[in-house]
């Protein structure tokens, strides 16, 4: 079904403006299953979290208390490490989204032949285990000619690489569901320059996709351990590991806290990013 014919068909239907009754009954049937699936999912996700939380309350013998949380928050290293990770995450997100969105758009629009190549590259970080990649990076950039090992460049590069598959796939899926060529052609024929096309036509339509890629990147960087630990940069992941190895109750408290904090941050991102973008996915008609 070509896009033109589907659009003309749907627009003709739309003009008639009918909404069928069968729609509603169909919806209600789906509803029950949707609820069941949702509840099973919630159960699966929350019981282990609850088990962790329940354990974290047991620091004081024979009673429930928030002692573990108090101790965890008293550690100044919690704040410094969390702060560092947030900083790494923001930088990674900026670089990654600029790189990925422009590249994915370019590939969809101009060089579809390159798509398999680009996709392969974005899947490589999956295939190459972090442990091995880090050692490769350290060996390559630890000594002349290019010495990057003293600066956070290597860490950020590592994070961007790690988040590449997720970011690209999210954006790619988003691009597939909007008609890139038509949008671009229409904008071009109306005389838009490339910057306008990118920032006022493409990006807004990809808002959902980009945001989901951003969430993933944020969560990845916050939880990442291997790169930060092997490259010896302060970050939340190694801090959690260290606490986890040497203590009880506080690591579990930290796990719950970091989960909630990351969730809240993502919720915030989501809230900021919403508005015009959500319902309108394809603005072409």
């Amino acid at each position: 079904m070509s896009s033109e014919s589907s659009r003309s068909l749907s627009s003709s239907i739309f003009l008639r403006g009918r909404r069928r009754g069968s729609n509603n009954s169909g919806r209600r049937r789906i509803n029950i299953w949707a609820w069941i699936i949702f509840l099973i999912g919630i159960l699966y996700f929350f019981v282990p979290l609850f088990a962790t939380f329940e354990f974290s309350l047991r620091m004081v013998k024979d009673q429930y208390s928030f002692e573990a949380y108090r101790v965890a928050f008293e550690d100044p290293r919690f704040y410094t490490n969390f702060g560092y990770s947030i900083m790494w995450a923001v930088i990674t997100i900026i670089i990654s989204s600029l790189l990925v969105v422009t590249t994915a758009y370019w590939v969809h629009w101009r060089t579809p032949r390159l798509r398999p190549v680009v996709e392969f590259i974005t899947l490589m970080p999956f295939v190459v285990p972090a442990v091995v990649l880090t050692f490769g990076l350290i060996r390559m950039y630890g000594s002349p000619p290019i010495v990057l090992i003293g600066s956070p460049v290597l860490l950020i590069a590592g994070y961007v690489i790690l988040s590449l598959p997720y970011m690209y796939r999210a954006v790619d899926t988003g691009l597939r569901s909007i008609d890139v060529r038509t949008l671009t052609e229409a904008a071009l024929s109306l005389g838009a320059g490339w910057r306008t096309i990118l920032f006022q036509v493409i990006f807004p339509n990809l808002r959902v996709a980009i945001l989901s890629g951003v969430f993933l990147t944020f969560a990845i960087v916050m939880g990442e351990f291997t790169f930060a630990s092997l490259l010896s940069w302060p970050a939340f992941g190694p801090y959690m590991e260290e606490i986890g190895a040497m203590r009880a109750y506080t690591p579990q408290a930290l796990a719950v806290v970091s989960f909630l904090l990351t969730w809240a941050s993502i919720g915030l991102l989501q809230w900021i990013g919403r508005g015009a973008g959500q319902e309108q996915i394809a603005g072409a008609h």
């Binding site: 354990f55 047991r58 620091m59 004081v60 013998k61 050692f135 350290i138 060996r139 630890g142 000594s143 002349p144 010495v147 090992i149 003293g150 630990s229 092997l230 490259l231 010896s232 190694p238 590991e241 260290e242 986890g244 190895a245 040497m246 203590r247 009880a248 109750y249 690591p251 579990q252």
Partner: protein
């Protein structure tokens, strides 16, 4: 380092230490009287000679450097937290701590990766399992240095040229949640009893952690019944250890999970084998919630020393040497003891009466350590290989 061709091989470990301590001590006294005061021109030679640098020179040069980079020193491991803080405050130095989680091979890798770097990721000093000293030497990663107290370190616990030396050791002990059991296991064979089904775990992964390999070895030593004197005997003991864990796995007593403080507290791993200093630190940290009973097994008492060294490529050579002068001194060694780890110079210090009695009281009874066996480096290497190559094969019947 092997003891098999030494004329005094039938001496017990302790006697041997005492003997070497006495000879070392007298040699030290002799050398003390005769040394000349070095001049400033010898500055360049200090590092190359590998001999102990006088404290005043060392301190000023180290303070010029201003900072030290350490690696793989968790604060709760053998009281490194306090050792580092004391170094900082006593000598007015800064310490840049890298990657506390690093394993011994990570530390060596960090030296290799930073050979040309001299940046903040290049470690100055390392603390590795004795079994790794061979690799470090082969790859020429260490610089030699003999601290002032060099002579009182037992010969078998150091490299003759001063490239590495043991700093402290512990023995493998049982860490048990006392309230859960009517009977606490006293020895390795006890662990096979049915009441411990699904209750016993190791604190590391056999293929990755020195501690876990030693756990297997120690259980084998217990079954072997006598102290191995040759590499082959050690390997035989190692195989007995593998058999033991096969039986533990078949009986279902062994849980294939890596134990840590959290899992102990949660109750998943009520019996764990760990270095005594870690087990005791856990006991203190949990503060009775739950209460832990730490026991050194009656047989198969295996000592695990850790070796210190200076990176040949470290950016702060004087700070590194200052660190070792401090850590190997009575004060530094006592700080290890405060963290429940036995300093390598324990016998020397005990004989001179410089160990505070309260500290001695907090440790498990001294006779538990008398049977402690210190394997030689060739033994360790052979045992590592034997256990890691055959672990999955023997215990899980794979491959």
């Amino acid at each position: 380092m092997s003891t098999n061709d030494h004329p005094l091989r039938n001496l017990s470990r302790r006697d041997f230490l005492k003997l070497s301590m006495m000879t070392g001590f007298s040699a030290f006294l002799a050398s003390c009287g005769g040394s000349a005061t070095p001049t400033e021109e010898a500055g360049m030679d200090y590092l190359a000679s590998g001999e102990s640098i006088p404290m005043d020179v060392l301190l000023s040069k180290a303070q010029e450097e201003g900072s030290l980079t350490t690696i793989a020193l968790p604060h709760d491991w053998a009281n490194y937290g306090e050792i580092i803080e004391t170094y900082k405050s006593k000598f007015d130095m800064e310490v840049n701590e890298l990657n506390p989680d690093a394993g011994s091979s990570d530390e060596l890798e960090a030296i290799r990766a930073n050979k040309d770097s001299k940046g903040p990721q290049a470690p100055d000093v390392i603390d590795i399992g004795v079994g790794h000293t061979e690799t470090a030497m082969n790859d020429a990663l260490l610089a030699k240095y003999k601290v002032a107290d060099w002579a009182t370190i037992p010969d078998s616990a150091k490299s003759p040229d001063g490239y590495w030396w043991a700093e402290y050791y512990g023995v493998l002990a049982f860490e048990v949640i006392a309230d859960e059991f009517s009977e606490i296991p006293e020895d390795w064979e006890d662990l096979l009893k049915p009441e411990y089904k699904g209750k016993v775990a190791m604190a590391g992964d056999v293929l990755k952690s020195n501690q876990s390999v030693q756990t297997v070895f120690a259980s084998g030593l217990s079954r072997y019944g006598k102290t191995p004197t040759t590499v082959d005997e050690a390997v035989e003991a190692a195989n007995l250890g593998l058999q033991f864990w096969k039986e533990m796995n078949d009986a279902g007593n062994f849980i294939p999970v890596i134990a840590d403080q959290g899992k102990i507290a949660q109750g998943e791993t009520p019996i764990v084998m760990e270095w005594d200093y870690l087990a005791l630190a856990n006991r203190d940290a949990l503060a009775g919630n739950p209460a832990l009973d730490i026991r050194v097994p009656k047989s198969g008492v295996l000592a695990g020393p850790y070796a210190g060294g200076i990176s040949a490529y470290g950016p702060h050579p004087y700070a590194a040497r200052l660190w070792w002068e401090f850590v190997m001194s009575d004060e530094g060694q006592n700080l290890y003891l405060k963290g429940y780890a036995h300093p390598i110079r324990f016998n020397d210090m005990a004989s001179r009466g410089v160990i505070p009695q309260e500290m001695l009281d907090k440790l498990p009874p001294a006779d538990a350590y008398e049977a402690a066996f210190f394997p030689s480096v060739p033994m360790l290497t052979a045992v590592f290989n034997e256990i890691t190559e055959n672990w999955r094969n023997v215990v899980y019947g794979e491959g």
